[in-house]
Symmetry: C2
Subunit: 244 residues, 2 copies
């Protein structure tokens, strides 16, 4: 069974108080970078993997997408998504993305926001996504940065007075399971190198279009802790296009 | 004046005792990855930026390159290169790569091994390289990994008993000059993010073909300290192709 932390009542409650949960895309520090990479979606078929509250699905709907399939493993997430981000073109479906089966060449655009660090096997996922996309279709995703996932704890290293010294990197080339602390809870995440992300995409049949490590926008720099986000990369955004 | 540490007698002496200096390409932990990306060079025009001892230039000559222009800022490096890695097709030239002027579309392949972290302005360099390459020409380089250059010291973080705890990352999004310790000497290097490398290549007119963070080969794992190279990425290799 895939881990389904987001259906844990307490964890979900913590998540629901994050800025990105309360205010949607505008509350997500990386949104301005992700948005720049979203293509024209009018009449297009969109797949959203790990849709959470449905903010991205709703955004696709606002761009007049023809159909949006938005999947998530968490019933609580989907309940909230149906509540606040419904649209006639959006189908919310509860399933682990690894278990999804879809016809080949049936989507124009596949999006995933901060979900792949929860899955164990990215190369297989990339292969499936490439199959589901039409030739020339775009695959855009954000994930936690390999720098952020390598050591495991995902926490800064502090001096004896509790001040941040630096961010620790360790075990970089040892990929796999990590026990991370997220919102005060132990959460299983998976570390992989940048090389593995790139190799998986190239082998699956993609061309790399862009790679961005988002920095917080100036407008959010006064939020407590945000300046520290300049000290290490936390996320990576990759845009790839299906060859053919 | 560009920094020319390699003409400092003491520093050069330290460098000359590194495994990669004494045994050439086979002594370089990343060579097996770089080699995989070198195209057919028979009859081709090759540019080697920051050629050092000339190991790569000699390798290109062994692949029957038609002409190899190999440049370096250090007279000591070039002296040694002419001594041990000469070939009729190789021209060694002393110049800072930033000052090089070459005709457009005059090279098939541009290679640079571990030199770009010494230059301040990579985007300008990438633009020039793109101009010098013929359409479809390949640009292959290794550089110190942004994880390795970010904090500046390039050293591990140790516990009170001198054991490695982890590798520190800091100031990641603050690009520019760093005072690094290399072979016991203070050396100026330049940190830039992965994003900057990628953006510079894309803007210059390249397509990204591959990105690899080399791991030490199993055959070198018994060399003291080599296992620690699994704990953080030290180098990055990028292959790009000129559009058109």
């Amino acid at each position: 069974m895939k881990e389904n932390m987001y259906d844990d009542e307490e964890f979900f409650s913590s998540y629901s108080h994050m800025l990105r949960s309360e205010t949607g895309l505008e509350g997500a520090g990386e949104w301005h970078e992700l948005e720049r990479h979203i293509p024209d979606l009018e009449g297009k078929r969109v797949l959203d993997l790990g849709c959470g509250y449905g903010w991205h699905a709703a955004y696709a709907a606002s761009l007049k997408a023809g159909y949006v399939l938005a999947v998530d493993l968490s019933e609580r997430m989907l309940e909230r998504a149906r509540d606040i981000n419904s649209a006639p073109c959006i189908e919310y479906r509860r399933i682990a993305m690894e278990d999804l089966e879809l016809p080949p060449s049936s989507f124009d655009f596949v999006l995933s926001s901060l979900a792949f660090h929860y899955i164990e096997d990215f190369p297989s996922m990339a292969e499936k996504i490439c199959t589901w996309l039409k030739d020339g279709g775009i695959f855009l995703f954000s994930a936690e940065h390999p720098v952020f996932t390598a050591a495991g704890s995902q926490d800064w290293y502090y001096d004896s007075e509790g001040r941040i010294m630096h961010f620790p990197v360790d075990s970089y080339f040892y990929e796999g399971k990590r026990d991370a602390l997220f919102l005060g809870h132990n959460v299983v995440k998976y570390h992989r190198t940048l090389t593995t992300y790139i190799r998986a995409l190239l082998s699956a049949g993609f061309t790399i279009k862009d790679i961005v490590e988002p920095q917080p926008p100036l407008s959010m720099m006064d939020i407590p802790g945000m300046k520290d986000e300049m000290r290490r990369p936390m996320m990576i955004i990759i845009e790839a296009v299906k060859n053919g």
